[in-house]
């Protein structure tokens, strides 16, 4: 009986890990320098979540880490007792902030239900970039 309980607990733990880590896959994007033909890469972890971690390599080769967060744009809503509730966020506006050594990159973006979209970025050195999700 004790062995059965132990196996059940392991099964629950493995299922929970798979469920939480596998629901929302990572989403890749490209970061383009708008003044020179250079391209970098960004990965949004668990991209279907409303917020999360991100890693990037800037067009110049700098490695960056940061976070993204979103708010709803177009949404399916219901009015429950007068209070507005969002059923589904069809599109979102978001902000990604990356720290790249001594520099900071901030990207505003828009994306849809499948985490596809685009954005514009600027860094603390005055450079501008375009962000395109793949």
């Amino acid at each position: 009986m004790r062995n059965f309980n132990k196996r059940l607990l392991w099964a629950i733990a493995i299922f929970a890990t798979a469920a939480t880590s596998g629901c929302y896959p990572n989403r890749k994007g490209a970061i383009y320098n708008t003044k020179s033909p250079q391209k970098g890469a960004v990965v949004f972890e668990h991209a279907g979540d409303t917020n999360g971690a991100a890693q990037a390599t800037m067009p110049g080769g700098e490695r960056c880490e940061g976070r993204f967060n979103t708010v709803p744009d177009k949404a399916k809503k219901t009015y429950d007792g007068g209070a507005k509730q969002i059923l589904e966020e069809e599109t979102q506006a978001g902000l990604l902030v990356l720290t790249c050594g001594q520099a900071v990159v901030a990207c505003n973006f828009t994306r849809d239900l499948w985490a596809a979209g685009y954005g514009t970025c600027k860094d603390s050195r005055g450079e501008q970039y375009e962000l395109l999700f793949k």
Partner: protein, 127 residues
């Protein structure tokens, strides 16, 4: 029984307080440096902020929020956020004054924001 009621009350108070308080990182888009801000009553229509600018100045301020302030959000962020709420903030930081717009889901804490000081220096805020 009284102890159980007291414990439940304490848990409810602590839980309520924590849920309504948020911390944010503010990033200078001029210097690349970051600092931390705290927001009280983050899910309410108005509340207080306090923190430090990346340059070291201490700041205090207030926010006031309204539902689906698309005009304000569109003026601040390049992409529309029609189903979000906007919180307008004024921060007094010694000789500096920052105006910020924060965005959030209805009934929830803030997600991110954008600020500008009186000289035009820009900041990004991430919750």
């Amino acid at each position: 029984m009284a102890a159980v009621v007291a414990l439940a009350g304490t848990v409810a108070l602590l839980g309520g307080g924590c849920a309504n308080k948020q911390s944010a990182r503010i990033y200078s888009l001029s210097s690349g440096k970051a600092a931390t801000f705290d927001v009280d009553s983050a899910t309410d229509n108005h509340g207080a902020l306090r923190g430090t600018l990346p340059s070291g100045e201490q700041c205090t301020g207030d926010f006031s929020a309204s539902a689906s302030d698309e005009t304000r959000l569109s003026a601040t962020f390049p992409y529309p956020a029609a189903s979000a709420e906007a919180g307008v903030v004024v921060l007094n930081c010694g000789a500096q004054v920052l105006q910020c717009v924060l965005a959030r889901r209805p009934g929830q804490g803030f997600s991110f924001g954008s600020c500008k000081d009186q000289h035009g220096a820009e900041y990004a805020m991430m919750f």
